[in-house]
């Protein structure tokens, strides 16, 4: 009874390591094409990067802003309710500023992008893989990593920080607006209290994380797309897996990073 279980765990571990290796190789190859491609007349096309940035980033702005604004209001609600016991309601504003810039802004941006683009990218590459479009690219002398992965990677690394800044701003507006009204503070007081405590490092902490999240989402989505086998069912499985895996990796990576960044 025990042996099959151990075997399964072992096989699972080997597969996980193989997959991580594959994702790393996608990353290295993308870097190669970004740097060397132009000299080989095989550049990573700006046109494709822009269109990816549109799909991954720009179209995600409304939902990121909405969620972050709500998150800011929630933080204010909870903060005021909790801090009331200590007669420290006014501390809610710096509290929101800290937690949003360091944590929640980037987390919301990451989860939205993982949900939207993680699935869309895996589905797109997966269906190309199934219909031999990936092979067609290859035999035309067009490396799929250069053509498909590198543009996604670049646009993720550009759009995730931008989305994070949008999220930070929206959440602070949400939180500030609500606290300002409830605690009858003027706009200048709210702004002063927010920016008094906030230093560049807090914002940067979110930005660093956003780069890591973007990298993870791009690599997980692409590798799941390329490894699609077995028809429509396999495609569905890869798509779901891509979302679940990238959200899980984001949260774990967040924990690890926060541990180091807050020491």
């Amino acid at each position: 009874m025990v042996r099959p279980v151990i075997e399964k765990v072992g096989i699972g571990a080997v597969q996980a390591i193989e997959e991580a290796g594959y994702q790393f190789s996608l990353f290295v190859e993308s870097l190669y094409w970004l740097i060397v491609g132009p000299f080989l007349q095989q550049p990573v096309r700006l046109r494709i990067i822009v269109s990816e940035m549109m799909k991954i980033g720009v179209l995600a702005i409304p939902i990121v802003v909405l969620l972050s604004f709500s998150n800011g209001v929630i933080l204010a609600l909870q903060g005021i309710a909790t801090l009331k016991d200590f007669d420290a309601e006014s501390q809610v504003i710096p509290g929101i500023a800290y937690s949003v810039t360091r944590e929640f802004g980037v987390l919301i941006a990451g989860i939205v992008v993982a949900g939207r683009s993680g699935s869309a990218i895996a589905a797109r590459i997966g269906s190309m893989q199934m219909s031999q479009e990936v092979d067609a690219l290859r035999v035309m002398g067009i490396e799929p990593v250069r053509f498909l992965v590198a543009p996604i990677l670049v646009s993720m690394l550009i759009m995730m920080p931008i989305l994070t800044l949008f999220a930070d701003t929206a959440a602070m507006i949400g939180g500030g607006l609500y606290s300002g009204i409830v605690l009858s503070l003027s706009l200048t007081t709210v702004l002063d209290r927010s920016f008094d405590v906030l230093v560049l490092y807090d914002v940067m902490q979110g930005i660093y994380k956003s780069l890591v999240f973007g990298l993870l989402i791009a690599l997980v989505a692409c590798s799941n797309g390329f490894s699609v086998t077995g028809g429509a069912e396999g495609l569905g499985r890869a798509t779901t897996r891509s979302v679940v895996m990238s959200i899980a990796m984001i949260v774990v990576a967040d924990m690890v990073f926060t541990y180091f960044l807050t020491r």
């Binding site: 190309m128 067609a136 290859r138 035999v139 035309m140």
Partner: protein, 274 residues
């Protein structure tokens, strides 16, 4: 530097020698050897599952062989540098089994695609070149349709236009007639013959359709369970006294002789393996 100059016209375009290929632990191709000469149409024929597409993938360097060698344009595909492979591939055109058109691009943009990637021509020139090829495959007037709107025959013809847009020296065609009605399939065969006459091109066609194979082939290679049964002209194959070839030609299903020991072994193999 220039592979075209190193390659003398007398040499075969493709030389395959002792190719062995596996998927996992299953042997798919077993000691396959053959040549393809300049300007000829070589048909690789065999029942479904006999390894035709796998052989094609090896010729295209999409799969790596376990042993044996494949030379295309005189270059060993086993240890060609990626830059050289890139150059070689610009001299090949491929039409995959179901066309493999890019779903997000319309017919015209699909055909233009290789030109966009490999040439610095201006947009109008590329458009004209693409339309010329679409004209050749009788797809003129359908430029703006998306792949999802095409019939099977139209997809294959568009894929063929895309395959020849760079004027390749070597053209591969996987199952041109599969899934098509006989008339459309005969049209496509006609088209392949016309292409060979119009362009200086060698064509490798993979098919399981006898009629189609006999119509277009200069030579036929019959593949069976990963092994080459016979290579030769249409007549050679027709008159072959190999029993399996005759079975294939007469569409007779095989009465496989069962060795009782082997049969028992197959049944129990997985179980004792645990």
């Amino acid at each position: 530097m220039n592979t075209a100059e190193q390659h003398s016209p007398q040499e075969p375009i493709i030389e395959v020698d002792g190719l062995v290929a596996y998927y996992g632990s299953r042997k798919i191709l077993d000691d396959v050897s053959f040549d393809v000469h300049g300007g000829e149409i070589m048909v690789i024929m065999g029942g479904s599952g006999s390894g035709k597409s796998t052989l094609l993938r090896h010729l295209l360097a999409l799969n790596r062989a376990v042993s044996g060698s494949i030379r295309v344009f005189g270059r060993d595909m086993g240890d060609v540098s990626s830059r050289e492979l890139h150059r070689l591939r610009q001299r090949m055109g491929v039409s995959f089994q179901n066309g493999a058109l890019f779903n997000s691009l319309n017919v015209e943009d699909n055909v233009i695609f290789p030109l966009r990637e490999h040439t610095l021509l201006d947009d109008n020139t590329m458009r004209i070149m693409a339309r010329m090829k679409l004209e050749v495959v009788n797809m003129a007037g359908f430029e703006k349709l998306m792949p999802a709107q095409l019939s099977g025959g139209m997809s294959k013809r568009t894929a063929l236009a895309r395959a020849i847009v760079m004027d390749p020296n070597l053209l591969f065609f996987d199952e041109p007639s599969a899934g098509l009605d006989p008339v459309v399939s005969a049209d496509l065969d006609e088209l392949i013959l016309r292409l060979r006459d119009a362009m200086e091109v060698s064509i490798v066609v993979v098919t399981h359709e006898l009629d189609s194979a006999f119509r277009i082939a200069d030579r036929i290679l019959v593949l069976d369970k990963g092994k080459v049964l016979v290579i030769g002209s249409v007549d050679d194959v027709r008159n072959s006294d190999n029993e399996r070839v005759q079975n294939l030609l007469n569409r007779r299903s095989e009465d496989v002789v069962v060795d009782p020991d082997e049969y028992m072994h197959r049944l129990t193999d997985e179980l004792t393996g645990l």
